[in-house]
């Protein structure tokens, strides 16, 4: 690779933040499944790589009843897809984690890395959107928290300021009867970014939350559509309506992976499939 960089591995978040502040242009390394590829393609030149895997607290993955789920910045995607508690309580997140790339990549990639990379099609973004995830950030000014919707600001752009890192993501606890489902369409299984990614969640209070990826410059919540679903039961009629209506709420583009028309079509098809699946499981 053309880039010449040194490698630092701090033991605390404070050390990491101080290094980032003093060395602008430093790239944060978690799993490296995006970063090392960019470096090897010589698309990125940097002087410093800061590996956060030496910070013990960032490996935290736990669930506390009443508080919810916490996923540290160094937690692997495979740890998320394999956790029975996440399969049980936050199914869409488990499904999205299991669908990301290959087993080897999931053994390196992290959820926080996926959202910090901020691809419009980020696989793990849509479950986080429907679970109202909170992003925990630390920087020179101290700690702050940000809703996941406000974290994505553009294609490959996030709300992170200079010297800040994401230390983890938390998801509020869910009630009994809460259900969700994730689906993605890709050209080939395993090795492709999503053409369309979608998560739908139905809460125990019959509230519907929808998150989609690869159909706008950032992953988005379909808030207007959610409002329209408020007084509707989950049934075949609603599913057919949703299949058509969703096209008024997404703004896809044509790119190397799919045309705009195909993305409209797939958005409707996936949304209907998910609603039908949830219905078959008894969700009303």
């Amino acid at each position: 690779m053309l880039s010449k960089f040194d490698y630092v591995k701090p033991k605390t978040v404070e050390e990491a933040v101080a290094f980032l502040e003093n060395n602008p242009g430093t790239r944060v390394l978690a799993g490296g499944t995006d970063l090392i590829v960019l470096l090897r393609r010589n698309l990125l030149i940097t002087d410093h790589i800061l590996d956060i895997k030496g910070i013990e607290g960032l490996h935290r993955l736990d669930y506390k009843e009443g508080k919810g789920l916490y996923i540290g910045a160094a937690v692997l995607v495979n740890e998320i897809s394999e956790a029975p508690m996440i399969q049980d309580k936050y199914r869409a997140l488990s499904q999205a984690a299991g669908s990301l790339a290959s087993h080897q990549l999931r053994n390196r990639a992290t959820l926080v890395g996926n959202i910090c990379n901020a691809s419009p099609g980020a696989d793990l973004s849509t479950p986080l959107l429907v679970y109202n995830a909170v992003v925990h950030i630390e920087g020179p000014e101290g700690k702050r928290e940000l809703g996941i919707e406000d974290f994505f600001t553009g294609v490959k752009k996030t709300a992170l300021k200079k010297g800040e890192i994401v230390t983890g993501v938390s998801l509020p606890d869910v009630q009994e009867g809460d259900s969700s489902y994730y689906k993605k369409q890709a050209r080939v299984k395993g090795h492709d970014l999503a053409t369309v990614g979608i998560s739908i969640r139905r809460t125990s209070e019959q509230e519907t939350l929808m998150g989609m990826a690869a159909i706008a410059p950032t992953p988005i919540r379909l808030r207007e559509l959610e409002k329209k679903l408020k007084n509707r039961d989950f049934n075949e009629e609603t599913a057919n309506w949703l299949k058509e209506e969703i096209k008024n709420h997404v703004k896809p583009i044509s790119d190397v992976r799919a045309s705009l028309e195909y993305r409209f079509l797939v958005s409707g098809a996936l949304a209907k499939k998910i609603m039908m699946t949830l219905m078959e499981e008894g969700v009303k």
């Binding site: 490698y7 390394l29 499944t33 080897q104």
Partner: protein, 178 residues
């Protein structure tokens, strides 16, 4: 560095950045190593250029093809996307560590028996993904086998013999335990 190796044709291209080296200690196939590595060196380049272990292959160099798969701290990973510096304190298993002395492992024997290779380039990575699968799931379903090797490209076999070989190796390994 490559020019000093006998196995020159198998060496992964690598240019030293000239930056200060990083001291790391790690274990590969049961042997302990202490090395000073370039910060821009990958684990795959470390295996090839420093340890002269040429079994692990470089295919795409971007984590797509799985030819460079090794088992790092018990997890199958693409060694082309891991920095050598990240391997500090790590335990690594490569294809060279599967057999015992001159005897091939059950998994390797089954790959031969089922003609699960033709050109052989993907085979070391395929074997490591299969090893990692059988370590976490000694009795995998066909679906689990397919999922486990989804990150390993083979352009010769059409995959079916590979799946059969892994299934058969799983049975033989379980029998060997009884």
């Amino acid at each position: 560095m490559c020019s000093t190796a006998k196995n020159k044709g198998n060496c992964v291209e690598y240019t030293d950045s000239g930056l200060p080296k990083i001291a790391i200690g790690f274990e590969v196939n049961g042997d302990r190593f202490e090395k000073h590595v370039d910060p821009t060196m990958t684990l795959l380049q470390l295996l090839h250029n420093e340890l002269k272990l040429f079994g692990t292959k470089e295919g795409c160099g971007e984590g797509e093809c799985g030819a460079c798969s090794v088992i790092l701290n018990g997890k199958a990973v693409n060694s082309c996307l891991v920095l050598a510096a990240e391997a500090d304190d790590a335990t690594i298993l490569t294809v060279e560590g599967l057999g015992q002395g001159n005897e091939l492992s059950i998994l390797q024997q089954e790959f031969i028996k089922y003609d699960a290779l033709q050109c052989g380039f993907c085979t070391p990575g395929m074997l490591m993904s299969a090893r990692s699968l059988l370590d976490r799931q000694p009795n995998p379903s066909d679906e689990e086998i397919k999922e486990a090797i989804a990150g390993n490209f083979c352009r010769c076999t059409g995959y079916v013999p590979i799946i059969e070989a892994i299934r058969s190796a799983a049975t033989r390994e379980r029998e060997a335990l009884i």
